[in-house]
């Protein structure tokens, strides 16, 4: 073990940061409020106005009116500001840290100038119910962005309506159903196929759309099992929802064979390209034989995630399937842009309006700043960064990259700390939390943990060699601690506000409280 304190600086450069996060012991905002406190004292309405306007609420139907005011916390402005500033300091967000640990999420740097564009009044003052003629600008951007996505995917029509990747997958599953319905086969085709290393939303959304889901396990090499696919397809197959590369970062070299087998059985193929960061300008959905695909603009296209939204799951289809797209789609008649409600067999609306406009604007600005060659370079640098980091990480004792031994990965890697766990008893989750003591973190994996003691890293194109070196040095240090002082790792965090929480209640819906009121009710503080 290196003596970190003595060697903290090499040539004046810090080896490992002496990070220490603020800890505010901040209560939940509902506990902070006090009856009678106010953030704004709204002036009394003047008589003159009152007599003109009358009772402003009279127009609201009785059934829509609240009987009691909402139970919001009552607080002064500075208290609110302080509360949220405290919380922001207890965060380890994408702009704070070398955020390569949130694998599958494509945590890239999103240029701030794009945020500024989206915050311009020309954008923020728009309303989706405005007349088309007054919003030609944003419609043009949406239309042009569609042309860009067509080129990137090789597919022929896009909708920007879905508000997330999962909504896009649901949209695709719904389009598949509409397609089979149009052919009179919807009843018979009630099974959707996916793989265990595809994103879990693929299985989940298919199920929400009413399908039975068959999940394929990997073959011994970690590739989706082609023989299992052959056993799974039948006249009941509606389609395939698949990620490629999968969460392991392994590209499925037989993907064209997969789509061929599904097509031969009468099904459709949908490519979950939520994360296309390693693929831009290199391969396309069309050439791999897909009929549908989707991109998360909040990942690959840098819009950014925004803590769970707003987002866009841009959804593309072949010409043949365009008639099923949600309405409206943005079209151009040679003179003006307009909202097209035509698609004859549309599945209807997936979400109000036609896409989160500021998100589309940011994605468009990002692509236009890069150009076609720049997009390809994004993919190349992301892949290079990933393989560089993999080489450094695999030099650490106790970690492995299961499957596809000796092969390079695309944009991410699902590592396994199984050896370290067996030798020290320290779980991967504890390592990720200990890393937070040095100002970075990592995420394990979706459940179920097919790869034992998992850790998923995705460096994207945004990080420099020095930053990746720093990240790897932290991992190496923390792994070394697991061997030399396992209790130090197990009892982490020591310098960070991240808590170790008991996951057990997560398994039990009876213990979930989605709202403050539900919490009070479930803890017996309120009926």
């Amino acid at each position: 073990m290196k003596n970190i304190t003595a060697e903290r600086f090499t040539n004046g450069k810090p080896n490992l940061r002496r990070f220490h996060q603020a800890r505010w012991d901040e209560p939940v905002i509902f506990e902070l409020g006090q009856p009678g406190q106010r953030g704004i004292l709204v002036p009394e309405v003047e008589e003159g106005i009152k007599s003109q306007v009358g009772d402003a609420l009279a127009g609201i139907p009785d059934g829509l009116r609240r009987k009691d005011p909402p139970k919001l916390p009552e607080m002064a402005q500075p208290a609110v500001l302080r509360h949220y500033d405290h919380l922001s300091q207890e965060n380890l967000g994408v702009d704070f840290n070398i955020d390569v640990g949130q694998g599958t999420c494509t945590m890239k740097y999103s240029p701030k100038v794009n945020d500024q564009l989206a915050r311009m009044p020309e954008m923020t003052e728009l309303h989706p119910l405005q007349d088309e003629s007054t919003v030609q600008g944003i419609l043009e951007i949406m239309y042009r962005f569609e042309q860009i996505l067509k080129e990137i995917s090789g597919l022929e029509r896009f909708t920007l309506q879905p508000g997330a990747g999962s909504v896009a997958i649901y949209t695709n599953a719904s389009i598949m159903r509409a397609y089979h319905e149009a052919r009179g086969e919807a009843k018979q085709r009630d099974e959707m196929i996916t793989t265990i290393f595809s994103h879990p939303s693929d299985a989940a959304c298919a199920k929400v759309a009413g399908y039975k889901v068959i999940t394929l396990y990997p073959d011994p090499e970690g590739y989706p099992d082609l023989e299992a696919l052959k056993a799974a397809v039948s006249e009941r197959t509606a389609g395939l929802l698949i990620t490629n590369p999968e969460d392991t970062g392994i590209f499925n070299p037989k993907i064209a064979e997969f789509t061929r087998i599904i097509h031969a059985a009468g099904g459709l193929c949908s490519y979950d390209q939520a994360n296309a960061n390693g693929m831009l300008g290199i391969t396309r959905a069309r050439e791999a034989g897909f009929d549908l695909c989707h991109f998360n603009l909040h990942k690959t296209f840098s819009t950014p995630h925004g803590c769970g939204g707003p987002a866009v799951g841009a959804t593309g289809v072949t010409q043949e399937l365009a008639r099923f797209l949600p309405v409206p789609i943005v079209d151009f008649d040679g003179q003006k842009y307009f909202l097209n409600y035509d698609p004859a067999d549309s599945i209807g609306k997936i979400r109000p309006f036609y896409g989160v406009a500021p998100v589309v604007l940011k994605a468009y600005a990002w692509v236009m700043a890069l150009g076609a060659a720049g997009l390809r370079e994004v993919a190349e640098v992301a892949v290079l960064n990933n393989n560089y980091l993999m080489k450094k990480v695999l030099a650490i004792h106790g970690v492995a990259a299961p499957y596809a031994a000796g092969k390079r990965r695309v944009e991410q890697v699902r590592y396994s700390w199984q050896t370290l766990f067996e030798e020290t008893g320290v779980h991967s989750e504890a390592l990720g939390i200990r890393a937070a003591d040095f100002g970075v973190h990592y995420w394990t994996s979706h459940h179920p943990y097919v790869v034992p003691e998992p850790c998923t890293l995705e460096p994207t194109e945004s990080y420099s060699k020095e930053e990746l070196d720093e990240y790897a040095a932290i991992l190496e240090h923390v792994a070394g601690e697991a061997y030399s002082d396992p209790n130090l790792v197990r009892s982490a965090p020591h310098n960070s506000t991240v808590h170790t929480i008991d996951h057990h209640p997560f398994d039990d819906p009876q213990q979930w409280a989605i709202t403050w009121r539900a919490y009070l009710r479930k803890t017996g503080q309120e009926r």
């Binding site: 396990y217 056993a231 199984q418 766990f421 097919v450 008991d502 057990h504």
Partner: protein, 371 residues
């Protein structure tokens, strides 16, 4: 004060170090000691107990004298309450059973036991599912799901259990036929179940964390099966806690270790023999078999469900075999295929390839079956 019981099988694991594959029987134990085997069950039990130290004065340890527990306790720095009496150096299965019974009668919250599959079987004989029990792995053969993956996790899991952070699940007690095993044949059978604390946190990597409680998953599987069950069809349910729980949700009382046949929502044969099944099948040609793989090893036919014989399987047909499993159980196979050992090669081959395993409501996986 929370009471924990501890029973150590002092000679567990003796055979393994000297290549004897198991330590059952006095004769073998003598042979093992002659070959220079050093008992290490006490040490492993002590490792587990160390994880309980942070609980401080919150618990009291009840155990048996000398190597059956007291030594391990003292090694871990715990002052135990010692019950019973034994002949040091000459303990046997009867001592284990007697000790476990006494712990149960003294109302321990949890019984920790150190040993292997043979010990688990003795514990199962003694207490069944009366009180929760958890194994500290110390034996040569560990097939049973009642064991933690390492001694220290047994201790951590026990501490979590006392803090109320775990749920209880029925875990399999498996044992090999030792004569067959020494002769080079692996032949395990499902012996029974213990009620064992479970928390994804402590068994991660072996059993796999899930997003739903096991009971919710079993209910979901039951829902799917119930939707598919048709009048006039005979349903043959294999043994196991998965099939039993699913049957309970569907609405009938299934035996835990037997094969039961159901027709039109009623059990028509409980704990059926092969002959019973063949007789039923001669009347009801439309039939389905519902089985679950044995945890950790993936056997679907030939271990513990022998009444579902090659003839029965042939009559029902491959297309009407429905394998059910929680996703965790599939996960815990670590990629190893399912397999059958019916005693009839042709039937084993017929079953090989891929089978759909029902893992939830409208959820299944396509899983490989070894030839």
């Amino acid at each position: 004060m929370k009471r924990i019981g501890l029973v150590v099988n002092p000679i567990a694991g003796l055979g393994g170090r000297v290549g004897l594959k198991g330590s059952d029987g006095m004769e073998l134990q003598r042979k093992a000691l002659e070959l220079g085997a050093v008992p290490h069950a006490v040490e492993r039990a002590a490792q587990a107990l160390q994880a309980l130290l942070p609980l401080g004065a919150e618990f009291e340890l009840l155990t048996y004298p000398f190597a059956m527990g007291a030594e391990a306790a003292r090694q871990a720095g715990i002052d135990p309450c010692v019950l019973g009496s034994i002949q040091p150096g000459q303990t046997s299965a009867e001592d284990t059973v007697r000790a476990a019974r006494e712990m149960a009668e003294n109302e321990v919250r949890l019984l920790l036991f150190a040993g292997g599959d043979g010990t688990a079987r003795d514990i199962c004989n003694a207490i069944g599912m009366e009180i929760p029990a958890l194994g500290i792995p110390a034996g040569v053969k560990i097939q049973s799901a009642v064991y933690a993956t390492a001694p220290r996790y047994a201790g951590e899991l026990a501490a979590a259990f006392l803090r109320g952070e775990t749920e209880l699940r029925q875990a399999e007690v498996m044992d090999l036929d030792e004569d067959a095993f020494r002769a080079g044949r692996v032949s395990a059978c499902l012996y029974g179940y213990l009620k064992t604390p479970y928390s994804q946190r402590y068994v991660q990597g072996v059993k796999v964390p899930s997003l739903s409680r096991e009971s919710a998953v079993l209910e979901a599987i039951a829902g799917d099966l119930a939707d598919r069950m048709k009048p006039g069809w005979l349903y043959i349910f294999g043994p196991g806690s998965t099939t039993q729980a699913v049957a309970t949700h569907i609405g009938f009382d299934k035996t835990l270790l037997g094969v039961d046949a159901v027709l039109d929502g009623k059990i028509v044969s409980a704990d059926a023999s092969e002959a019973d099944l063949l007789r039923l099948l001669s009347v009801n040609r439309l039939a389905e078999i519902v089985v679950t793989p044995i945890g950790g090893q993936g056997c679907i036919f030939g271990r513990g469900n022998q009444p579902i014989s090659p003839d029965v399987i042939r009559k029902v047909g491959r297309a009407h075999i429905r394998v059910i499993s929680t996703p965790e159980k599939i996960q815990a196979l670590n990629g190893h295929p399912l397999w059958a050992d019916t005693g009839d090669r042709a039937v084993d081959e017929m079953l090989s390839g891929y089978l759909v395993v029902l893992t939830g409501y409208k959820e299944s996986v396509m899983y490989k079956v070894m030839a």
